[in-house]
Amino acid sequence: MSRLKNRASNKGQSFIEVIVGSMLLVPIALFGLDVMVIVLASSANDTLAKNAARAAANQSVKVLAVAAAQKYVASVPKSAMVLDAKLDGSIDYQDKKQVEVKTAMKVKVPAAFAGMDVVELRAVAVEPIVAGPADI
């Protein structure tokens, strides 16, 4: 009789432990997944900013530079996770010197926490302008 009682109380304890453990481990795991997605997306956004800046730096006038950067950013494929990618404001084009491009990328994380299901990432890249003859 006491063995039966022990078994019943052990099963109950294990069940509670699984519930409590899950309540602890699952969020951590999901959080880790979100972190992984955000880090990868951030890296992708950095690359996007760099390539957009390179495209702009290959133009000799600001108008063409803006168009080149916008064209590049617009070519980025969207997905279930990458909702949007765009230039963050106007590019800073200093004639014959450098161009600064800022990009913004909206990423939907797999596991939303506290209503934070879409994260906006920002990146900035500065490239020297290589278009046009040397100013000598």
Partner: protein
């Protein structure tokens, strides 16, 4: 519960570790981006940064290169080829002058220019190889790039160690930024062939021989920009890995640069990265000697009246020759000439309405130089040397000067002092001729140069001769009781000589053509007693 706690802790640690690793790897990517951007910055600013330019002195042979300097009066990577180009033309000119027996002091001057070009080139190479000059160019861009994955205060700076900031000589044998669109710019076909022209441009990192000296230009491929290259390509073409053979001074100007960056201010571990950039100024020039001129000198036209010349004994009488020299203007004029009586001419020998200066078909420089087309080809010979020298003045790529252009230019009237004219290019595209005041007003750079003489020796290059009868224009008016012994007659002899003194281009003078026009009017007539 303890197991759950341990698992939770392990999972949290794994997540944290993964996060840190991702940040570190992401930081590595940021570092590469920053280093690449810094390398491109070096590849662009290497042409404009003041620390990488060479100043020209105000005098001495190096000052001869002021006309190929940039807008700041300096020599840098973008225009060092112009320096070498000018020195090459001087040596080629001197070599051709020596072969024609008109060398003068041209070889000495050309060698002075070569040595000056070498000194400028060596000074530039030293600056380009000094990594301290490149660090600021790198950091100007690299530090502006985000490195937040390695810490909010992290920046990409130059890794200050000369071992990682090497230079290289890339695109060997490819074209340079010096255009040679026509063989007319060179004084001979052989000197043009020696250039090894590639795609209408001089080849780079290829020894070119002129005047016994070896020249070496820096390649900058047309329509390319400064861009990154692979490490293997860079390393295999450094001067030490693959020396340039045949270049006498062994210190060629590099066109590619290695850079290395490192993170500073990082939170935990830092990153390093290298990149290699091939520079290109995207600026082309023509093989030329910009601030140069050709002097055209028209001597006084000499008119000689020769009465009864050469001397003779006519009718038993010794004929006295009379001779008078004067000058005439460069246009058609008519003169009356009277001869005084002698024992052999009892009367007056008169030339009535003798046309003088008839070789001037019009009062233009073309008439002064060429008078008429020559049958012996001497006109073409003079035209050829003038066209060749004029093409050395032109700096605009794609522009050439032809014989037709020369003939059109010489339609200019003879003005100014009527004697001294200067052929020059005020803008590197057009060519003009005019007297001194006109020339210096259009090209003020001529002021210190215009008095310079060419450094070769003079030789006749053009000789035209013609004559025509003065039938009906010569009279003998006999004294009383005298009569002419024979019908008087006359002949006008015209001689046009062109003397060419070539110049290597040193001190600005590419040559001088000196024209001598002479009209010799011969009258014969004798009168005596009936």
């Amino acid at each position: 519960m303890g197991l759950v706690a341990v698992c939770g802790l392990v999972l949290a640690m794994l997540v944290t570790a993964f996060f840190q690793l991702s940040m570190y790897l992401g930081g590595g990517r940021e570092m590469r981006n920053a280093v690449d951007a810094g390398a491109l910055s070096v590849g662009q600013k290497v042409f404009t940064d003041k620390a990488l330019k060479v100043n020209l002195p105000d005098d001495g042979p190096s000052a001869q290169f002021k006309d190929v300097a940039d807008k700041h009066g300096e020599i840098g990577l973008a225009n060092i080829n112009r320096v070498w180009g000018k020195a090459l033309l001087a040596e080629a000119n001197a070599e051709a002058m020596q072969a024609d027996g008109q060398g003068g002091s041209s070889k000495q001057h050309a060698d002075m220019l070569f040595d000056a070009a070498k000194n400028l080139s060596n000074e530039l190479t030293a600056k380009l190889n000094d990594e301290n000059n490149l660090y600021p160019l790198f950091e100007e861009i690299s530090e502006q790039n985000s490195m937040r994955m390695l810490g909010g205060q992290t920046k990409a700076e130059a890794f200050k160690n000369a071992q990682f900031w090497q230079t290289s000589l890339l695109d060997r044998g490819q074209e340079t930024n010096i255009e040679v669109s026509s063989a007319d710019v060179m004084p001979s076909a052989a000197s043009y062939d020696a250039l090894g022209v590639k795609k209408n441009r001089l080849p780079g990192y290829t020894p070119i021989k002129a005047g016994g000296r070896m020249f070496c230009f820096v390649p900058f491929v047309e329509n390319e920009r400064s861009h990154l290259v692979s490490r293997s390509y860079f390393d295999s073409n450094t001067f030490f890995a693959k020396p340039l053979l045949g270049v006498e001074w062994g210190n060629p100007v590099p066109n590619a640069f290695a850079v290395k960056g490192e993170t500073k201010g990082h939170a935990v571990m830092g990153q390093e990265g290298m990149a290699f950039v091939l520079a290109n100024p995207q600026k082309s020039y023509k093989l030329s000697m910009p601030h140069t001129f050709v002097h055209v000198k028209i001597e006084d036209n000499k008119l000689t009246w020769l009465l009864n010349s050469p001397s003779a004994v006519l009718g038993g009488h010794e004929v006295t020759i009379e001779k008078e020299e004067t000058t005439y203007e460069s246009k058609l004029i008519f003169k009356n000439k009277s001869g005084s009586s002698t024992s052999a001419i009892a009367g007056t020998l008169l030339g009535n309405g003798v046309p003088v200066g008839k070789e001037y078909t019009d009062a233009t420089l073309e008439s002064a130089l060429f008078a008429s087309d020559s049958e012996d080809g001497s006109r073409e010979k003079l035209e050829k040397v003038l066209v060749q020298r004029i093409n050395q003045m032109i700096t605009e790529p794609g522009v050439s000067f032809t014989t037709a252009d020369l003939r059109k230019m010489l339609k200019r009237g003879i003005d100014g002092d009527g004697h001294n004219f200067y052929i020059f290019s005020p803008d590197g595209k057009t060519v003009e001729i005019g007297p001194k005041d006109y020339a210096v007003s259009k090209a003020p750079w001529l002021i210190p140069l215009i008095g310079h003489d060419p450094d070769g020796s003079e030789k006749e290059i053009l000789s035209l001769q013609s004559d025509f009868s003065l039938f009906g224009l010569v009279q003998v008016i006999p004294d009383e009781a005298c009569s002419p012994y024979f019908p008087p007659f006359g002949i006008m002899e015209i001689k046009v000589k062109g003397k060419w003194t070539p110049g290597s281009g040193y001190d600005g003078c590419l040559g001088r053509v000196r024209m001598e026009h002479t009209n010799d009017a011969y009258f014969w007539g004798i009168a005596g007693p009936l």
